[in-house]
């Protein structure tokens, strides 16, 4: 069974068709990339998968079960985590606390048990702290655990977002332009990190990315969107030679008839 299945998904914003009849499926433990020019509807697709916007038409299935009507927090609990194109950290909190918030799905503490300081509260908090620290080590931020998240460098903020998303123990991780604003060295590190994530966490990864080198290197499956529609899909070789894709990127007439 596919990990994620999208059927005839559409989205209208006050009369503007941001996404139209998109269908696709994503295999477990694979790396898939959504590519396409700006405004193609990639982030809108992410937002619908994570429940930020309700779809106008169509359906989204996680391991065969519909996600329709789920709020973003429910979807997070059901195993889909994400990062954001325009980084959204808890910027006044420490790096460590950011990741701890990601662990909240596993904590059962509530107001009463927190005040009473019940043993299980302390225990689960300790477990979460250890886990958060491990994740920070994993992405290479253990040194900065007490720093304010907003003070990290751009590249490190992106890494922290990934660590925080991993802390929710997702089965699918959505990365929205993870390499944006990174220099070539950072991008190479990121590439390795993404592969490491897939292998160590047994995750299904979907990413939106404009850096084609990174996309071609990582992705087993590429889906191309343009003007809200899926215009092509396949492996990197198929996509690179698809005239429709070249046209979408370079404009009409770019392909010799």
């Amino acid at each position: 069974m596919p990990m994620l299945q999208i059927k005839d998904l559409g989205k209208n914003f006050a009369g503007i068709q941001a996404l139209k009849d998109v269908s696709l499926s994503v295999e477990p433990n694979s790396i898939t990339a959504f590519i396409g020019p700006n405004g193609a509807g990639k982030t809108t697709l992410f937002n619908m998968i994570t429940g930020v916007y309700p779809p106008s038409t169509g359906e989204i299935l996680l391991e065969g079960k519909s996600l329709l009507g789920c709020k973003p927090d429910e979807i997070s609990r059901r195993g889909i985590a994400r990062t954001f194109q325009n980084i959204r950290l808890f910027s006044k909190m420490t790096v460590f606390e950011n990741v701890l918030v990601g662990c909240h799905n596993q904590l059962k503490t509530n107001v009463l048990t927190a005040v009473l300081g019940l043993p299980f509260t302390k225990k689960e908090e300790n477990i979460a702290e250890k886990e958060a620290y491990k994740l920070l080590q994993f992405v290479g931020l253990a040194e900065s655990l007490n720093e304010e998240a907003g003070n990290l460098s751009y590249g490190n903020q992106r890494k922290l977002e990934i660590a925080r998303a991993l802390a929710t123990k997702p089965r699918i991780l959505l990365l929205d332009e993870p390499a944006a604003g990174m220099n070539p060295r950072e991008t190479r590190e990121l590439t390795d990190l993404i592969l490491k994530i897939r292998d160590e966490f047994k995750l299904t990864l979907i990413l939106i990315e404009h850096d084609m080198k990174l996309v071609m290197k990582l992705s087993e499956h590429i889906i191309v969107l343009d003007h809200g529609e899926k215009i092509a899909e396949g492996n990197s070789h198929d996509i690179q030679n698809n005239p429709k894709v070249i046209e979408a990127y370079l404009g009409t007439g770019a392909v010799a008839k």
Partner: protein
């Protein structure tokens, strides 16, 4: 260590002060400081930690105060006939909890419709709620006389402890001190737990918090309920201390005063808010009155005519308004900035584990 020093100071200071009239008035101000500290700590959860601007916070204080006052005076006889009111001062201790819970319930009832919508409107809705509660208390003397309307409730039974009625400020001071320590304990526990982290995550970025599995509505509602709980508890103490309450004690000016305490002290910062509450209460109850009296003396004795309009005790709105603007513009983090919890990474490394185990 600071906390311990503060505690010693709080317990001993009353003994150090001289006895007599000035002692009582000193203790009265100290008691009010304690009451406002707790309320400011409650509002700090809502505004400082969860980032929700509540401009009608005094409503919960009023609800707590009326909850006790109605049953601790003959007032309840007007609508309840199965027992005789007023209740004895022994019930006061239970009422601290009841008053808090009733206020908390109203917090939830207000929060359910309001916290679902985007945050901008919250300020105006809570402002309205504060006014409405006052209007309702002002008019609930008919058809059944529940609150005694604008006349207020007087001769509220003071608390009884081991058969002794607590009547003067120095006795109330210790009641407030104990409750304040309890409130502080609860807040410290919450702050360091999942609950406090969720509040701050929601404040920092709602969309990211939601993507981490945090239920925005529930988290905000919890902040609202806990804040209202503290405010309601202090309302009960206030009513029993004053032995008289009427709707004029619960105006918007009060709500804004508490907000000033939080903003001045430092939103989200527990020590800051305690400082802010102490500074503003002392300013309000002591400094302004004393300067006003001094000016009156001056114009009576010194022959310098200072018109009554200049009296600083009337200038609260001006002073508080100015403080809010100045702090928003130049010191938005307040006097004592909110600090993040620092963790020792050794705790997670092998060496730290062993050290921990051998201890």
């Amino acid at each position: 260590m600071w906390a311990a020093a503060g505690l010693v100071l709080a317990v001993l200071l009353p003994f150090a002060a001289s006895q007599g009239d000035s002692y009582e008035s000193f203790m009265d101000v100290s008691t009010m400081v304690g009451i406002y500290v707790c309320m400011a700590l409650g509002l700090n959860i809502v505004v400082g930690m969860a980032g929700l601007l509540d401009l009608g916070f005094v409503a919960f204080f009023a609800i707590g105060a009326y909850t006790y006052a109605i049953f601790a005076t003959p007032q309840a006889n007007n609508f309840l006939h199965f027992m005789d009111f007023p209740l004895s001062g022994n019930t006061f201790w239970l009422f601290i909890l009841i008053g808090g819970l009733v206020a908390s319930l109203f917090g939830v009832l207000l929060g359910i419709p309001v916290l679902r919508v985007k945050g901008d409107y919250l300020a105006i809705v809570t402002l309205g709620f504060g006014e409405i509660i006052r209007i309702v208390f002002n008019n609930m003397d008919k058809p059944i006389n529940i609150t005694n309307g604008a006349l207020g409730l007087s001769s509220i039974t003071p608390p009884t402890l081991f058969g002794i009625q607590l009547l003067n400020a120095s006795q109330f001071y210790y009641v407030v001190l104990v409750v304040a320590l309890l409130v502080l304990f609860i807040i410290r526990k919450l702050e360091a737990s999942k609950v406090g982290r969720s509040w701050r995550a929601v404040r920092e970025n709602e969309i990211a918090a939601q993507a981490m599995g945090i239920n925005l509505f529930k988290t905000k509602l919890t902040a609202f309920a806990v804040g209202a709980l503290f405010s309601g508890m202090m309302g009960v103490i206030f009513a029993s201390k004053q032995t008289f309450i009427d709707p004029t004690s619960f105006t918007m000016l009060e709500s804004i005063t508490i907000l000033v305490m939080v903003v001045l002290g430092g939103m989200g910062s527990v020590p800051g808010v305690i400082l802010g509450a102490a500074v503003v209460t002392i300013l309000n109850l002591q400094v302004l009155t004393e300067v006003s009296n001094w000016l009156t003396d001056l114009s009576v004795n010194g022959g310098i005519a200072i018109p009554d309009v200049l009296s600083p005790s009337k200038m609260q709105r001006f002073i508080f308004g100015l403080l809010l603007i100045l702090f928003a513009l130049y010191k938005p983090k307040g006097l004592i900035q909110e600090k993040n919890r620092i963790v020792d990474p050794k705790k997670f490394t092998e060496a730290g584990e062993n050290a921990h185990a051998s201890n």
